[in-house]
């Protein structure tokens, strides 16, 4: 009988302590939440001092994605103007065009300059001005451009 009473008393004390811990934790949590909200409000109303600078690049090691890799520029127009006599330069141009096509939704135009009118400077200027990147290809003749 005595031992049962003692056990009941111990249980009551444990229950009381447990309730005390829960109440204290809840009040502490509420206070922390209030403080965080207060800081967030202060930050949102304060003028930004870093508006002149772009945000730091992020990098996700798990997926391998970074802010830079996800950044896509505008699709460029790439002009590859070449002259090929025996086909070797054309083959090299095709390799280069294949690489350019893998980037940035690029549009690649390959032009054999032998097919262009050398007297039409207006068409030449339009062709060159329409390109964002120009790659010139030539064979070697007598140590210089063919």
């Amino acid at each position: 009988m005595c031992s049962k009473l003692k056990r009941d008393k111990t249980g009551a004390v444990v229950y009381a302590l447990l309730i005390l811990v829960i109440v204290a934790g809840a009040s502490l949590g509420a206070a922390t939440l209030a403080k965080v909200t207060e800081i967030q409000q202060a930050e949102s109303t304060a003028p930004s001092t870093s508006s002149c600078y772009p945000p730091a690049p992020s990098f996700n090691k798990a997926s391998g994605e970074s802010q830079f890799s996800s950044f896509v520029g505008e699709a460029p127009n790439i002009l590859i103007a070449y002259h090929s006599v025996s086909g070797g330069t054309e083959q090299l141009v095709n390799f280069t065009a294949g690489g350019a096509l893998q980037c940035c939704n690029a549009t690649v135009i390959t032009v054999d300059v032998a097919t262009l009118d050398p007297n039409d400077t207006v068409a030449t200027a339009e062709l060159l001005n329409s390109a964002d990147g120009i790659i010139l290809g030539s064979g070697v003749y007598n140590g210089d451009v063919q």
Binding site: I78, C103, A106, D132, D144, Q146
Partner: protein, 138 residues
């Protein structure tokens, strides 16, 4: 190719000077041997581009810093390229690099235009209508 390069509009021939300031340039060539003038050919193409203010990209490796040149054997009508897989790799990287740089420059040019600035409004001694010395864009 050399004939075509001479047709590019320039102020010396009385035309409006072609302005490739916002254009990325690069060069490639094929040669019959290692000592036949591959490097001077690449430099000639580079000089042609830079005469008109283009920015020269080069390749992605020290082996292709001034462009890429492949050694070919065109004898007997058959074209053979030495180290085709290696050359293809360097050529693809070169093309990718040009496209990537051109893409980013296109964005920069659009940003300057969005700020109501003319991307070609930089000081140029060939353009007396534009002020000199240069001013810094915001």
């Amino acid at each position: 190719m050399s004939n075509w390069l001479t047709t590019w509009p320039n102020s010396h021939s009385g035309d409006t000077m072609l302005d490739l300031s916002w254009t990325v340039g690069d060069a490639l060539c094929t040669s019959g041997g290692y000592a036949t003038g591959a490097q001077p050919t690449l430099y000639s193409l580079q000089r042609a581009l830079q005469t008109f203010n283009a920015m020269y990209a080069g390749g992605t490796s020290w082996r292709s810093g001034t462009g890429i040149c492949a050694i070919v054997d065109g004898s007997d009508g058959a074209v053979g390229m030495e180290n085709v897989s290696e050359v293809a790799k360097y050529a693809q990287y070169l093309g990718y690099r040009v496209a990537m740089m051109a893409s980013q420059l296109k964005v920069a040019k659009a940003a300057i235009r969005a700020a109501n600035q003319d991307p070609f409004d930089y000081s140029n001694p060939d353009r007396p209508d534009i002020q000199w010395p240069p001013r810094v864009l915001p």
